[in-house]
Symmetry: C2
Subunit: 601 residues, 2 copies
C-alpha cells in the first residue's frame, strides 16, 4: 500500500522561516499563531492524515461510491468514520471566524492541513473542500438568517456543501444554463433542472448537504448576466434548526470516472426543489466566483499534493529497488545491483519532483498569506495590493501547478517501471486522481484566458507591473550574494522572457485578439516558472541566512540551496522556448479549416 | 462510443508521395507493391480496423480479461471472433516471406496496418504484435526444425507468441534473472521460474501459444552474459505438427492495470516446462534484442496511434460542442454559442496533435522503409547504412514518440473538459492505454541511455554524423524555396542545438559519465524534435512539389505547408531549452544524499 507522511520539516521551513508568520503577530487572528501552535497543528494534522485518511485512499479507489435504488449514496468503507473523526477534532474550524465556531487562525495554517488531506486522500479531502467553497459564498453573500441557519453547522462539519454549476450542455459557458428558479409567494423559489459533475453531491457522511445552485429566474437575460445563486438544502431546515422534509433534489446517477473514485460525482436532479436566493438577482456569477476563487487555490494545491504523495513513494521505491550499476562504478558491490536511486535519470525525475513540490508548496502557502493579508493587513493599501496580487496569481496557481502536478505524478509512476502500471502499487491512482485538477474549477485553458484576457490588464496593468517589481527587487538584492547569484541571474533571464512576452501581447493582441488566445497558455506557464523561481529565490535566501547564522540542521538548508540551483538550471530554460512559441502568434494556428482536421478519407 | 477511421489520405501521402514506394520497385518484395495494391490494402485495412476492431475497444477496457480457476483466460467479448477474422483475412501474413506463407510485402505496408490496429484497439493489436516479435527471433536464431515447426502457424495466426523477460525482482537488469533451464538427455530443457508482465501470456484466441523465455543454464555467468533463450510452447507439438500434451507453464494471475485491460497481462509460472534452446547458449540477450528492436518500433508506433485515435475524437467533439464565442466575434450568431473549435487554445491542442501524429507517422513509416532497405537494398553499403540509421533512431522512435503520444492523448482528453474525465466518452482509456508505451519494451529512460550511451558512439560516431549530414542536406536544398525556407531555417537552428549537445557530451561525459546520464533524456527529446522536423521538411517539400505541379487536392497540400510551419514554430523551440538543461550537467542533480529526499519529519 502506498505511504504518506506529512512533509512537516518543509512546512515548518516555509511557514516559520520563509514566511516568518510570527512577524505578522500584530494582525487579527495571527496573534495566537505562535510557532509552537503551528508546529503542534502540523504534528497532529500529520498524524491524522497519515494514520486515518491515507489508509483509506486505495480503498476509496477500488470501491468507489455506490448509489442505491432510492438515490442514496454510500461512500467507501471507512470514509464516514474518518469524517466523524475529522469533525470531532474540529479540523474544519481552523481558519473560520470565532463567531461561527471557528478558531480564527490564518489561512496559511488551514492550507497546510488541506495539502496534507489532499496528498493523503484527494477524494476524501474534496468533501470538506467543497464545503469550504460553499461557506465562503454564504459568508460573502448570504442574508443574516441564511448565515445563521447554515454556517455554524457547515463550519463544524455537521453538514457539508456543494457547488452546482455545470449542466449537460454547458460547463465553461455558464450563460447557457437552463435550470429554472420559479419565485413563490413566500420569497422562496422552486428550482428545476439537471446539474452534472457535482462533487460530493450525495453521500452518507453528513446529516444534511447544502447545495449552492446557479439557476435562472423567469425573464432573466440570456447571458451570464442572467444567472442567480440559490441555496438548496437536501433536507429543509426548521426554524429551530432541526431537519425537516426531504427537499426535491436527488442523485440520478454517479459518474464513472478516470479517478477520484472515492468522491461521489453526481448527476443531481432538481425537481421543484425549494431554494432561497443568495445575493442579488442576476448577480449569481459574482457570488459563484467567490467559491471558485477559493476552489481554484485549493485545486492548484491538489495538483502538487498528488505529486508530493507520488514522490514520497517513488523515493522509497528508488532506494529499495535494485537494477544495474551506477555509471561511476558499483555503489553496493556486495549486492547484485545498486539501488536505482544511483542512476542519473532516476535522480532527474526525483529532483524534478522535489523542486516542483517544494516550490509549489511555497507558492501556495505564500498565496494563502496574501489571502490573509487581503482581509487583515493594517492598511487599505496593503489589503488591496495583496488582494490584487492574489487575483493575478490565482489562474497561475490553478493552471500551472495542476499541469506540472500531473506531469510529476506521471514521472513518479515512471520510476516504478512496469510496477507503476499495476494498480496495486498505487502509482496509477495518483496519476488518475491528479488528472482531474487540470479540468475542474475551470479547465486550464480557461485559466490561461483569465490570466491573459482579464488579469494582465487589471488595474490598467498596474498589478502585473507590481509583480515584475516584486520579483526584480528580490533578484537585485540577491545578486551580490555568491550563494544566490546563480539562481538570481537565471531568474532575471526568465523574468525578461515574461516581460518580453507581455510586451508582445501589448503590441499584437489589439490588432488580432486571437494572438492573445494563441499565446495565453504559454504565458501562463512562463509566469508559473517565474513565480516558482521567485519562491526558490526566497527559499534560498532564507536557507543562506540560516546557514550563515550558524543554524543547526545544516544539511536541510544546504539541500535548499542545491535545489534552488537545480530548479534554476532545469526548469527556467523553458521560459525562453515558451516565449518563442507565444511570439509565433495565431496565424498558422488558426489557418486551417475544419476539413483539414479530418484525415480519414 | 469513440470513433476511429483510418487516416488513409495521410497514409497514401506518406507512402506513395513522400516515400514514393513505387520507386523502389527494383527491390525484392517491392515489385508487387504498386500504388494500386497499397491503396487497396489501406482501404481494406481501414474497413477492418474501424468496423471490426475499434468497436471492441471500449468493451475490452470495461470487461478486461478473466482468469478461471483452471488457469485458463477468457478475452473480452468479441475478441476471439475478431481474431478469427484477422486470421482468415491473412492480415498477419502481409510482410512475412512467401516460404512461410506470407505475402512478402514491404514492412512499410505492414506498419500502416499495425498503426490502424493499434489506434483502433491497442489491447487487441498486442496479440498479433507480440507474435511478430517472437516470429522475428525464431526467424533469426531458430534451428531449421524449430522454424518449420512454429513459424508457418505463427505467421498464419493459428498460434500466437509471447516474450518472457521480466521477473518480479528484475526488469531492466536482465542479468539478475533466476528462471532456470535444466538440460535433459534428449536435448530439451526443463524450465522453472516465474515471469511477470507477460502480455498475451494466456488467452482463448489461438489453439497454441509459443513462449520465448529467457532463462539460465546451470553454471551460467551471473551477468547478462549468462542468459539463454528458449522456446516453450503452451502445448507440446507432435512430429506431425498436431498438438500434444499441455506443457508445464500456467497463468498464475492476471495483473490489474491502469489500462490495456483487453490484453491479458499474465504472471506465468514455469514448473519444469519443456523448452528448447533458441540460438547459442548464453547468447539469449542478443536473440532477445531482435524481438525487442521489432517491438520498440511497434511501441513507438503505439504512442502516436493512441494520440491519433484521441485526436479524431477531439476534433469531432470540438466541432460539435458549443461554448462561448470566438474572440474575433460570433461565428454562428444564430446559435447560442460557437463550436469550441473556434477558440485558439482548443485549436492549439488540435494543431499540436495534428502535427505530432502526422510527423510521427512519417517518422515510423520512413523507419519501416529503412528496415526494408537494411534487408533488401541492392548494395551491402546501402543495407548497412540503412541498418545503422534505424539502429540509431530506434530509441528515439520508442522514447520520444511514446512520451509525446501520452502527452497528446492527455491534451485531447482536455478538449472534452469534464466529459473527458468520464469513462463513457472513451478519452480516459486513450490516456490510460497510451501510458504503457512509455514503460514497456524498455522504459524511456533506458531508451535515452541506449541512444546516448551506445548508439551515439556506434561506428566511431559515424552514424550520428551521417544523421547530421542527411538533415543538413535536406535543409540546404530547401532554403532556396520560399515555401520551405521558414521550416528549413528553424530546423537548422534546432539541429544546431543537437550538434552542440553532442559536442557537450563529447567534452564532458568522459570526465564524468553521470553527465551523460543526466542529459540523455534531454538529448533523446532534442533528437526526436529534430527528426520530426526533418520529416515535416520532407513532407512540406513533397507538398510544395505537388502544388507547383498543379496536383488536385490543393487544400490537402496547403494544409501540409501550414502544418510544417506550425511544427517549426511551436515544437522546435524546445530544442534550445533542452540543450540548456543538458548543459547543466550532473552536479546539482546528483549532489543530494538520500536523506534529503525524505522530507517527512
Amino acid at each position: 500500500m502506498p505511504i504518506y507522511k506529512a512533509p512537516n520539516r518543509d512546512f515548518r521551513f516555509i511557514i516559520n522561516e520563509m514566511l516568518d508568520l510570527e512577524s505578522y503577530g500584530n494582525l487579527p487572528g495571527f496573534e495566537n499563531a505562535s510557532e509552537d501552535l503551528i508546529n503542534s497543528i502540523l504534528e497532529e494534522g500529520g498524524k491524522f492524515t497519515s494514520e486515518v485518511i491515507a489508509p483509506l485512499n486505495q480503498i476509496g479507489d477500488q470501491e468507489g461510491c455506490t448509489r442505491h435504488e432510492d438515490g442514496s449514496v454510500t461512500t467507501p468503507t471507512g470514509f464516514k468514520e474518518a469524517f466523524n473523526q475529522y469533525r470531532e477534532a474540529g479540523w474544519g474550524t481552523l481558519t473560520q471566524p470565532e463567531e461561527l465556531g471557528g478558531q480564527g487562525l490564518p489561512q496559511v495554517i488551514g492550507f497546510a492541513l488541506k495539502e496534507m488531506m489532499s496528498s493523503a486522500n484527494q477524494s476524501f479531502g474534496m468533501y470538506p473542500g467543497l464545503t469550504n467553497g460553499a461557506i465562503e459564498a454564504l459568508k460573502a453573500k448570504g442574508t443574516p438568517e441564511q448565515k445563521e441557519m447554515y454556517l455554524p453547522k457547515m463550519v463544524s462539519g455537521q453538514w457539508t456543501g456543494t457547488m452546482n454549476l455545470t449542466e449537460p450542455h454547458c460547463g465553461t459557458d455558464l450563460g447557457m444554463i437552463r435550470t429554472k428558479a420559479d419565485p413563490q409567494a413566500d420569497g422562496s423559489y422552486l428550482i428545476t433542472g439537471t446539474k452534472i459533475f457535482i462533487s460530493a453531491g450525495e453521500h452518507d457522511m453528513a446529516e444534511n448537504i447544502i447545495h449552492l445552485v446557479l439557476a435562472k429566474t423567469p425573464g432573466a437575460p440570456e447571458s451570464s448576466k442572467g444567472i442567480s445563486l440559490f441555496v438548496v438544502p437536501k433536507f429543509l431546515v426548521n426554524e429551530d434548526g432541526s431537519l425537516g422534509e426531504r427537499n426535491g433534489v436527488s442523485c440520478g446517477s454517479i459518474e464513472h470516472k478516470m479517478g477520484i473514485h472515492g468522491n461521489s460525482t453526481c448527476v443531481l436532479n432538481y425537481d421543484g426543489a425549494t431554494g432561497w436566493m443568495v445575493g442579488e438577482e442576476n448577480k449569481g456569477l459574482a457570488a459563484m466566483f467567490i467559491m471558485m476563487n477559493e476552489a481554484r487555490l485549493g485545486t492548484g494545491m491538489q495538483g502538487y499534493a498528488q505529486a508530493e504523495a507520488a514522490y514520497q513513494n517513488a523515493v522509497a521505491y528508488a532506494l529499495d529497488r535494485r537494477q544495474g550499476r551506477a555509471l561511476t562504478g558499483p555503489v553496493d558491490p556486495e549486492e547484485k545491483a545498486d539501488p536505482i536511486f544511483v542512476h542519473p535519470d532516476i535522480r532527474r525525475l526525483l529532483m524534478d519532483a522535489k523542486v516542483f513540490t517544494e516550490g509549489s508548496r511555497a507558492f501556495c502557502l505564500w498565496s494563502a498569506l496574501q489571502a490573509d493579508l487581503s482581509e487583515k493587513a493594517q492598511t487599505e493599501e496593503e489589503r488591496k495590493s495583496a488582494h490584487e496580487m492574489l487575483s493575478l496569481l490565482t489562474p497561475v496557481i490553478k493552471g500551472f501547478t495542476t499541469d506540472k502536478g500531473y506531469e510529476t505524478a506521471t514521472n513518479m509512476q515512471q520510476v516504478f517501471g512496469g510496477h507503476g502500471y499495476i494498480e496495486e502499487w498505487g502509482m496509477s491512482q495518483f496519476v488518475r486522481d491528479a488528472r482531474i485538477a487540470q479540468i475542474y474549477e475551470g479547465a486550464n485553458g480557461i485559466q490561461a484566458m483569465d490570466l491573459c484576457g482579464r488579469k494582465l490588464g487589471q488595474n490598467g496593468g498596474a498589478t502585473i507591473q507590481a509583480f515584475f517589481a516584486m520579483v526584480d527587487e528580490e533578484i537585485a538584492a540577491a545578486k551580490s550574494n555568491p550563494q544566490l547569484v546563480e539562481i538570481a541571474t537565471r531568474l532575471e533571464k526568465a523574468l525578461g522572457e515574461q516581460k518580453a512576452a507581455t510586451m508582445w501581447f501589448m503590441q499584437n493582441a489589439m490588432t488580432n485578439p486571437n494572438n492573445l488566445g494563441a499565446g495565453a497558455y504559454n504565458y501562463m506557464h512562463i509566469m508559473g516558472l517565474v513565480t516558482l523561481g521567485y519562491m526558490w529565490l526566497k527559499m534560498a535566501k532564507t536557507a543562506a541566512e540560516k546557514l550563515s547564522g550558524g543554524a543547526g540542521d545544516k544539511a536541510f538548508y544546504e539541500a535548499k540551496l542545491v535545489s534552488a540551483n537545480y530548479y534554476a538550471e532545469r526548469f527556467l530554460p523553458d521560459s525562453g522556448a515558451l516565449r518563442r512559441k507565444l511570439e509565433a502568434g495565431a496565424e498558422n494556428m488558426m489557418a486551417l479549416p475544419a476539413d483539414a482536421f479530418q484525415t480519414a478519407a
